[in-house]
């Protein structure tokens, strides 16, 4: 078939994102013999972090962030 438009790298760049640096963690604070933190102790969901985080996952694939629902 004709390949008149067949040039490499023409497709749109799918956005890749980096979460914000979570430097605000007091990583060992919760290691008190009873609890060992898996997720950063200095970072929990707040209105601000949630908005940032979700904005960064919204547009990047043919389904949406919501297709996470199918994972459960």
């Amino acid at each position: 078939m004709a390949q008149s438009y067949c040039k490499p790298n023409l497709s749109l760049q799918i956005q890749e994102v980096k979460p914000k640096d979570e430097s605000a963690k007091d990583s060992k604070d919760s290691i008190d013999g009873f609890m060992r933190a898996v997720t950063p102790t200095g970072r929990l969901w707040s209105g601000h972090t949630l908005l940032d985080y979700k904005m960064s996952t919204a547009q990047c694939c043919s389904t949406t962030y919501f297709c996470a629902c199918s994972s459960y």
């Binding site: 390949q3 067949c6 490499p8 933190a37 898996v38 950063p40 970072r43 459960y72």
Partner: protein, 469 residues
């Protein structure tokens, strides 16, 4: 003291993992912590416990001084979620046809061929113009500054005849004029004939489905006239990749084909597709849109997760090459945080509308053509059915009594309405799944990695997140 109703406790390898989806905290805890939470829940005396532990549990969002604090947190996050929705570009699903060139053995539409026989095979130009009027109007009303997208869908949109090609070309042209990002969902059978066009219009992603290696796929997804489709799809993917198109190859698993995944992966490796930067795959579970005769082949969500873990354990190529979200743990492992709370799993009428080939508007692609999902029309004029629309727009975990009380609602967001329709007869109910059991499978499978994260004192550095993996 109030113990969060969202706490989830998992027993893994003689250890306990505590997860609170509202705060996003995950901790490996001593069993005495679980005992303390039980005492607190029962209002018992906890003076024997170290005050620092209580403080830590509070810091991590597992307990609050009073219930109202948790409600306040919930509202704060819900508001942020609404703000996010307001600022998020929309997805418009454009079904340019109800017809399909394949006759998949399980597809409910095969039983509707008779029903669709008088339906126009493809969208006419004036209807397409009206569809764009609709999408542009909705897009102008939102606050989002990013590009909204159009997902071209069907039936099968990329069919091998001049009239289908003409309407797709026109749709791509209109999308370009209005600066929409374009995606295509296709069975891939005639993809090769569209590669030039999709490349010319810089289509962002093409989703193609293979149901397994050649023999399995051909048995399940023949052309309407009985021809085999595997080789044609593969040829289309080859050419598309050579032209730089981004291919998202989808595998949907059920009892009949799930064991063929390793063979398909081996095939794709040999093809060299994984060496192409524009190629990715994903795996999902066959769950709806089936003929009643095929339903016995479905894997339940828990069976699917178990099967996936089994495949990942026996063949590590499968996990690397066909990643899944595996109950959301992919995000935890790649970014150090789980997915944020989901207040509503359904984007329909909030972030997404689906426009069919005969002028009707639905909330999402899965509802196209279904009376229970109809919310309006875009042809001959734009018209919404307010009662129906309001029901969809008001759907979230607070509007459903089951979800309101559920400890996993922030993980499943009430589930998919299409699933709810098939399970409970209405899309406006919850579609409950064994979320906790599924999560336990995933946590058990990834426990060594999760433990490693905890031993390093929690995840320490942001990692690049690739999309939809």
């Amino acid at each position: 003291m109030y113990v969060s109703k969202y706490n989830l406790d998992f027993k893994v390898q003689n250890e306990r993992v505590l997860f609170n989806p509202l705060s996003g905290a995950i901790d490996i805890v001593d069993k005495r912590v679980i005992a303390l939470l039980d005492l607190l829940k029962d209002g018992m005396n906890t003076s024997n416990y170290d005050g620092k532990l209580i403080t830590n549990l509070k810091k991590r969002g597992y307990i609050f001084s009073k219930k109202e604090e948790e409600d306040e947190k919930l509202q704060e996050l819900y508001q942020a979620y609404r703000d996010w929705m307001a600022l998020t570009p929309r997805n418009f699903v454009l079904s340019t046809t109800y017809s399909c060139n394949l006759n998949c053995k399980y597809c409910f539409q095969s039983q509707k061929r008779e029903l669709y026989k008088d339906t126009p095979v493809y969208m006419e130009e004036d209807m397409l113009d009206k569809a764009f009027d609709f999408m542009v109007k909705i897009n102008e009303e939102i606050l989002a500054t990013g590009r909204s997208k159009i997902t071209i869908y069907g039936g099968e949109p990329l069919q091998s005849d001049k009239r289908h090609k003409a309407i797709i070309k026109l749709a791509l042209e209109r999308a370009k004029e209005h600066n929409f990002w374009i995606l295509v969902i296709t069975n891939g059978a005639d993809l090769i004939e569209y590669v030039d066009m999709l490349t010319e219009y810089k289509v962002g992603e093409v989703q193609v489905t293979l149901d397994g290696p050649r023999e399995v796929h051909n048995r399940r997804r023949p052309f309407v006239d009985g021809r085999e489709s595997f080789d044609k799809i593969v040829e289309g993917v080859d050419v598309a990749l050579a032209c730089g198109l981004r291919i998202n190859l989808r595998f949907v698993g059920d009892k009949d084909n799930i064991d063929s995944v390793p063979e398909l992966v081996e095939f794709m490796i040999k093809k060299g597709w994984y060496n192409q930067p524009t190629f990715k795959t994903h795996i999902g579970r066959m769950c709806c849109g089936l003929t009643p005769e095929y339903e016995h082949n479905l894997l339940s969500s828990n069976q699917f997760i178990k099967k996936l873990v089994e495949l990942y354990k026996t063949d590590n190529q499968v996990e690397k090459k066909v990643p899944s979200r595996l109950v959301g743990l992919d995000r935890l492992l790649s970014t150090g945080m789980p997915y944020p709370p989901i207040f509503d799993a359904c984007p329909g009428t909030k972030l997404e509308y689906a426009l069919d080939a005969v002028g009707k508007v639905y909330p999402c692609s899965l509802g196209v053509g279904m009376e229970e999902f109809l919310v309006g029309e875009y042809y001959p004029e734009i018209k919404f059915y307010p009662d129906k629309l309001n029901k969809w727009q008001g759907r979230n975990i607070f509007s459903n009594s089951e979800c309101k009380e559920c400890s996993v609602s922030l993980l499943c967001g009430g589930g998919c309405p299409r699933d709810a329709l098939e399970k409970k007869g209405s899309p406006h109910t919850s579609a409950c799944r064994p979320v906790k059991q599924n999560l336990e499978e995933g946590i058990t499978y990834y426990f060594s990695k999760i433990k490693e994260m905890s031993e390093k004192g929690g995840y320490t550095k942001g990692t690049t997140v690739s999309c939809c993996t």
